[in-house]
């Protein structure tokens, strides 16, 4: 009986350990790209393929497995800087010390409570000197909010709602998803990155072209076409979650959306061109808030500093 019991207990852990070991071995196995590489290596060695043919096979196989998810935070950083430089070329920065400091204090707190607080170069927040009602986020963590949109806020919680929505876009990497796959493929499989040798000037030129195209894909999405409804829903849901975690009233997002709705004209400029109607978004936000009730603590101090920083925006 004892022996049987021992065997029973002993058998299963061993099976799991073996399976575990097998999983580690399989898990450590090569991606599609590397398997193709091994295969082409053999073909080259046996003289059935030229080096050049082999390289093109390797690149094609690599291309299959590349998507926005393969973009490293370091590359995301350079993409985001270029998107930021483009936005700040089209919109004048509103660089007033008290406003910038306030936006960064509110924004950093929110970013730290998000699911993705760490970016290659970190989050930064800034106002744009524009009457348009709009806000943008670059993939690298730069968040811009127009004076027109800030004027629709009445409290720190309202400001937090807008910044948290933009942080949601960054956390879900929506900007990178706007890049055409062909450009990502070029960028991530060019010899300049897979690196058999250091990049030649033609390779840098090819990369720069893919870079230029990527920036244009993102900025035209941000400024003209907008993200999908699904992406806006994800950003709104992330905003509600972040606000609950930090202790802001997530109803701030509903209040801002209601005010945005008052200036809503179908096909109007700014957010009206790039976002679903505020009424549709309010339903999403109400669902996300659920039964949560904010107890109102800290509201007085938050109101005081909000008015001091943004009272005359």
């Amino acid at each position: 009986m004892m022996r049987n019991g021992f065997r029973t207990r002993g058998f299963f852990p061993s099976v799991f350990l073996i399976l575990g070991a097998a999983a580690i071995v399989v898990g450590g196995c090569e991606s599609l790209g590397s398997i193709a590489e091994v295969g082409t290596g053999v073909a080259v060695a046996t003289g059935r393929m030229t080096e050049q043919q082999a390289e093109s096979v390797t690149r094609t196989a690599d291309a299959v497995s590349r998507s926005f998810e393969d973009i490293t935070p370091e590359q995301e950083y350079y993409i985001g800087r270029a998107v930021g430089a483009t936005i700040l070329d089209q919109y004048e920065p509103f660089d007033e010390q008290a406003v910038t400091e306030y936006l960064n204090l509110v924004g950093q707190g929110l970013a730290m409570a998000s699911d993705r607080p760490e970016l290659f170069g970190g989050y930064r927040f800034m106002a744009l000197d524009s009457d348009e009602i709009n806000a943008f986020a670059t993939p690298s963590g730069l968040v811009f909010i127009s004076r027109g949109l800030l004027r629709l806020t009445r409290s720190e919680d309202d400001v937090a709602a807008i910044l948290a929505h933009e942080i949601g876009h960054i956390r879900h990497r929506h900007g990178l998803q706007a890049i055409r796959t062909s450009r990502i493929t070029t960028a991530l499989t060019s010899a300049a990155i897979t690196g058999a040798q250091f990049a030649t000037s033609e390779e840098v030129a090819e990369l720069t072209e893919a870079f230029e195209g990527s920036i244009s894909d993102i900025t035209s999405t941000l400024v003209n076409s907008g993200y999908s409804r699904g992406a806006e829903r994800e950003a709104d849901e992330a905003a509600v979650e972040i606000m609950k975690r930090v202790g802001y009233d997530p109803n701030g997002l509903i209040r801002v959306l209601e005010r945005m709705n008052e200036s809503w004209v179908a096909d109007g400029p700014g957010f009206m061109r790039t976002h679903p109607s505020p009424t549709a978004r309010i339903d999403v936000v109400r669902n996300a808030i659920g039964t949560y009730r904010h107890d109102g603590t800290g509201s007085a101090e938050r109101q005081r500093r909000y008015e001091r920083a943004l009272g005359s925006i």
Binding site: G10, A21, T58, E74, F120, G195, E212, G247, G298
Partner: protein, 158 residues
């Protein structure tokens, strides 16, 4: 008895495999902090840089307890990747390895060189981006701002 020994060997083998597979991760952001507890308000015990390898001891609620250079503490998981990051090097073997999915080459692809070229061609307002990136929020100032506003950050005192 022989069977017992067989099982024991298998178990030992499993344990050895588990030890061999201890989780190593790399820092994939420019800089991050090792903190005394899993919270951005926790005391900073060390600073890690891009590409640094850490041993992950446990993970909880978005944070990883890690060991690096004899210092043990908490790093937010969003700063870490399971890939090994190879800093730019002329080492051909390391570069060939980077074609696999387990390794990333730092400073390759969309990098400073591509930015310089793009910037020279397009102009744009990179100066304003540089100024904004230079803007840093002081940690003590942020902690006071949160406290005065009755706000909190997720994370614990463990």
């Amino acid at each position: 008895m022989r069977r017992r020994l067989g099982f024991a060997t298998l178990i030992l083998l499993g344990v050895a495999t588990a030890l061999w597979a201890q989780t190593m991760m790399s820092v994939e952001v420019r800089e991050t902090q090792v903190r005394s507890n899993p919270s951005f308000l926790g005391r900073v015990d060390a600073v890690l840089n891009y590409g640094d390898r850490v041993e992950v001891l446990e993970q909880a609620q978005g944070w990883a307890r890690v060991r690096h250079d004899g210092v043990t503490g908490w790093v937010h998981s969003s700063a870490l990747t399971t890939k090994r990051i190879v800093m730019q090097t002329g080492d051909a073997a390391a570069q060939r390895e980077a074609t696999g999915s387990e390794v990333a080459l730092a400073g390759r692809g969309f990098n400073q060189e591509v930015e310089d070229r793009y910037r020279a061609e397009q102009g744009l307002n990179y100066d304003a981006v540089d100024r904004l990136e230079g803007y840093a929020v002081d940690a003590a100032r942020l902690a006071a701002f949160l406290e005065e506003g009755a706000l909190r950050l997720p994370g614990g005192d463990r």
